[in-house]
């Protein structure tokens, strides 16, 4: 299976000035702009629609998605993306410009207002901003809100954000982007936050503790109330990373646990498609005291209907417009479809699936009890090789080698969409790989569109565009 690049199919050079569209002008061959403002030529593939349709159809077939089979990437929450949400987002009335008068975009504003409300209820937060276009953007926004809060209270000296070592990498990066020093918190022996270590890390310089709950081992932080109290006692804020919220829907709410600010990953918890890496959306929710600092605009009901407004001490903006609108529409549709009971059942089945799968596989699975995910250990195998070999069994492997607290980690999150049969097949794939010999592992994958790809060469000899390729 090999599909040539578009550039290998055609290369056409258009001379600028020779292709003027305005044929009614005196000189049909002249560009509408003076030469010094234009390029001389443009060279790109010029292909017909049938050729393009085949190109992209073939490429799609060389890509594995949730609709291809199990996709148990830990912390990524690869749920089924209901087809109807695509039709909802494709409604022509959704295709409007945000600068039209507010009176003439009441539909969009209403949807945003309702979604703000839904997310607030689900997270137990007092207010929600839908603007952040991804989870990491939500983290960054939350950090900015926390910083604005501290500065507003004359506590601008707080310069540290505490992040557990098992946290998602974005937590560290988002805190750093927000100007904070990151204090890494070592994990406790039970895989959860070590209260002593936390105590040692907390200080008058603590701006916030960022926590994922359940954490990346799938473990609920049982001491969450005490943690919240400790953080609040030193004047810090408690941040909830929503990546694992699918574990708790209807069972516990970050707001009720004492979190002051959180982000939601709607492309995880609320099943909007991951799209090969994005777009997602990372709305944030905050407790009352942080509401005045939220990004602008938010949406509220006014006398004329729905309207935008700027919170009193708003941090300003984190996206050029209102965030990833189409994603928000899909998230609304998903939440509306499931309702209370559906959301609660999604979590129940997600947690059941993780526990069942952990039970079925032969590998060592330390810690527990698990919620939506677990981390198995490949033992004396290289987890990355195990993953490659799993590809040969027709499934997507787990997240590998992370969190580092488990040696040769296989971080596994089946989500609620897998049936028992599917989990049994997935377990069989795990076990088959565990039984494979070293040669099979080293050779893997053998049944995929491409064999093992040389990562080192890719990074050493950078070829990042077709312009860099030798014509081979």
């Amino acid at each position: 299976i090999y599909e040539p690049l578009l550039s290998e199919k055609d290369e056409t050079t258009v001379d600028i000035g020779a292709n003027a569209a305005d044929e009614s002008s005196d000189d049909a061959d002249s560009s509408p702009l003076p030469d010094d403002l234009t390029r001389d030529e443009l060279t790109l593939p010029e292909l017909s629609e049938p050729e393009l349709a085949r190109h992209y159809t073939r490429l799609s077939q060389m890509t594995y998605g949730v609709d291809s089979g199990p996709y148990p990437l830990g912390s990524c929450t690869m749920k089924y993306n209901p087809k109807f949400t695509e039709d909802v987002a494709a409604l022509s009335d959704a295709a409007v410009h945000p600068d039209r008068p507010e009176r003439r975009q009441q539909g969009s504003l209403e949807l945003l207002h309702r979604l703000q409300d839904y997310l607030g209820r689900i997270g137990g937060m007092d207010a929600v901003s839908l603007q952040p276009p991804a989870g990491a953007a939500g983290e960054f926004t939350g950090i900015l809100v926390a910083r604005a809060y501290h500065e507003h209270n004359g506590e601008g000296h707080r310069n540290e954000v505490i992040v557990p070592e098992s946290a998602h990498g974005t937590n560290f990066a988002s805190a750093a982007l927000g100007g904070y020093d990151v204090v890494e918190l070592p994990g406790g022996e039970d895989g959860r936050v070590d209260l002593d270590a936390l105590s040692g890390a907390l200080s008058e310089n603590t701006a916030a503790l960022m926590l994922t709950n359940p954490n990346t081992l799938g473990l609920f932080e049982r001491d969450i109330e005490e943690i919240a109290e400790m953080v609040h006692d030193v004047g810090g804020l408690l941040y909830y990373d929503g990546a694992n919220l699918n574990a708790l829907l209807g069972r516990a709410r970050p707001g009720d646990m004492g979190f002051d600010v959180m982000h939601y990953n709607v492309h995880k918890t609320f099943a909007t498609p991951h799209g090969g890496g994005g777009p997602g959306a990372g709305p944030i929710g905050v407790a009352e005291k942080l509401v005045p600092f939220l990004p602008a605009p938010r949406v509220r009901t006014g006398e004329m209907g729905y309207e935008r407004f700027e919170p009193e001490h708003s941090i300003g903006k984190v996206h050029g417009f209102d965030g990833n609108w189409l994603v928000l529409v899909k998230a609304y549709a998903y939440i509306a479809r499931l309702g209370d009971a559906g959301l609660a059942d999604a979590s129940a089945k997600a947690v059941l699936n993780a526990n069942y799968l952990a039970e079925q596989i032969d590998l060592d699975v330390p810690y527990g009890p698990f919620h939506h995910e677990f981390v198995a250990s490949a033992g004396d195998r290289d987890a990355a090789e195990v993953a490659k070999r799993m590809l040969d069994y027709g499934v997507h492997p787990p997240t590998t080698k992370w969190p580092e607290i488990v040696p040769e980690a296989l971080m596994t999150e089946p989500t609620e969409i897998e049936s028992k049969d599917s989990l049994d097949q997935l377990a069989a794939a795990f076990d088959a790989v565990a039984a494979d010999d070293a040669e099979a592992m080293a050779e893997a994958p053998t049944r995929t569109a491409a064999r093992r790809i040389d990562q080192t060469a890719a990074a050493r000899d950078l070829r990042l565009s077709w312009q860099t390729l030798d014509s081979d």
Partner: protein, 454 residues
């Protein structure tokens, strides 16, 4: 009554997720294997933080949700939008929708296992290559969120790569306010400060900029087309001014404009940012696609994902994410950016749309954006009480018109006639035409005449 829908759930009490496949027997078998009696036992949540309320969200059938959202969004009135200023409506060919809806593309994740993601990786590689051609820069990442956040990332990149320390990021005084606001937030964790430089008749005022620049400048940002739709005329000079102070020159543009205008690399751009979704998405309430391109020397400082070509074990060309050590999931707080989830699927749509147009179509679109704005401005200029364009420049898609009557009032009356335009100042309207057909523009001009005559 008839709803044409499957039961909301397969659980006996009619209250479960339709996307969880378990029937009762399967659930029971699984619970038994796990050794518990109910799923509730699996939640290791202390009683004190257990949630025992409800959200108050009623489940609805698929059909009901479709109808509900259709009715809700139907309250976005039908308007002909002549709106731009950073977000543009273009016709998107059917091919883009059909291909991008293919489940393999839509439902896949980031390509951490490249052997089963060659297709998406190749599309992203082709996306990168498209913009290498359009910008002349060697490095294009495979997406930021939007133009504003890409600009923010450009500033932090400038901060990282500049040899000497410095603090000032100079941006046009005429800039979409939200874009500047985002930039301010992106640099708020650094020592950088954002300062405006003056404009002259819609374009950068080079003399004033020269006066403002000193060795403390880290980056100079300019746009073409500008927020007022003018085509910037002195890009090389701007780049030279920046480079004279060892500052990076960052240019904001978009793929249609870049198909016609000077190649950014050839005028000295070090970074190109912008909204690439002018291809690939119709008007989407501001949702976009952040373009980010830069010089090869900065490749290890680039934010976001990069796809590279390599070989597989059989020696065949294959694609993979590369230089991931820049990224947050490996480098944590020392990453070049916190971005993880990006806009890959929009990039795929943009790549398909651009391929569908081909170079001829791209140039044609771009030339039309120039002539259409020119012609529409001339027609409005002929209306009594309107001067257009205000700026004596070439324009791209949009332009500013001065109205004798208050712009707010004119805009409001135009809305009543079904046309939305920007009122950007007391007596200034901004008008943007993309794929509007001639008849629509005729009606618009007639509406303007009518409103101005009242």
């Amino acid at each position: 009554m008839g709803d044409g829908g499957t039961p909301v759930t397969r659980t006996p009490d009619g209250a479960g997720s339709p996307y969880a496949p378990h029937d009762d027997a399967e659930t029971a078998a699984m619970l038994s294997a796990v050794g518990v009696d109910s799923t509730e036992e699996l939640f290791d949540v202390p009683e004190s933080v257990r949630f025992d309320g409800d959200f108050g969200i009623e489940p609805r059938s698929e059909r009901a949700v479709r109808e509900e959202v259709a009715a809700m969004l139907g309250r976005n009135d039908d308007l002909v939008e002549l709106l731009g200023r950073g977000h543009y409506d273009h016709y998107v060919p059917s091919l883009v929708d059909h291909i991008s809806q293919r489940a393999e593309f839509l439902t896949s994740y980031t390509q951490y296992q490249p052997e089963i993601a060659q297709g998406f990786l190749q599309v992203l590689f082709e996306y990168q290559s498209l913009f290498v051609e359009l910008t002349g820069l060697e490095i294009v990442n495979c997406s930021m969120y939007d133009a504003a956040t890409a600009l923010g990332e450009a500033a932090t990149l400038a901060d990282r790569v500049r040899s000497a320390s410095g603090h000032r990021v100079l941006v046009p005084e005429q800039l979409r306010a939200e874009r500047r606001d985002v930039l301010e937030n992106y640099v708020s964790g650094t020592d950088l400060v954002v300062e405006p430089y003056p404009m002259a008749d819609g374009n950068a005022d080079r003399e004033s900029l020269a006066d403002l620049l000193d060795e403390d400048a880290v980056m100079v940002y300019a746009e073409t087309p500008t927020v007022r739709g003018t085509i910037e005329e002195g890009l090389s000079e701007l780049a030279d001014l920046a480079h004279d102070q060892d500052a990076l020159f960052c240019l904001g543009s978009d793929p249609v404009a870049l198909s016609l205008l000077e190649e950014p690399a050839s005028v000295g751009a070090d970074v190109v940012v912008g909204d690439a979704s002018v291809l690939g998405l119709p008007a989407s309430y501001g949702m976009g696609l952040g373009l980010f391109a830069t010089r090869e020397e900065y490749v290890r400082q680039v934010p976001g994902r990069l796809v590279g070509a390599s070989d597989d074990a059989d020696g065949r060309r294959a694609y993979t994410l590369t230089l991931q050590t820049r990224e947050q999931h490996i480098r944590k707080e020392r990453a070049t950016s916190n971005i993880c989830t990006n806009q890959a699927w929009v990039a795929l749509r943009t790549a398909i749309h651009a391929a569908w147009l081909g170079p001829s179509g791209l140039v044609e679109e771009a030339e039309r954006a120039v002539t259409q704005a020119r012609d529409l401005a001339a027609r409005l200029d002929a209306v009594s009480g309107v001067d257009a364009p205000v700026n004596d420049r070439h324009h791209f898609r949009e332009f500013v018109a001065r109205t004798d009557r208050p712009a707010d009032d004119v805009a409001a009356k135009l809305v009543d006639r079904g046309f939305a335009v920007h009122a950007i100042d007391d007596h200034e309207l901004q008008i943007c035409a993309t794929d509007h057909d001639e008849a629509t523009l005729d009606e618009f001009v007639a509406a303007v005449e009518e409103v101005l005559e009242q």
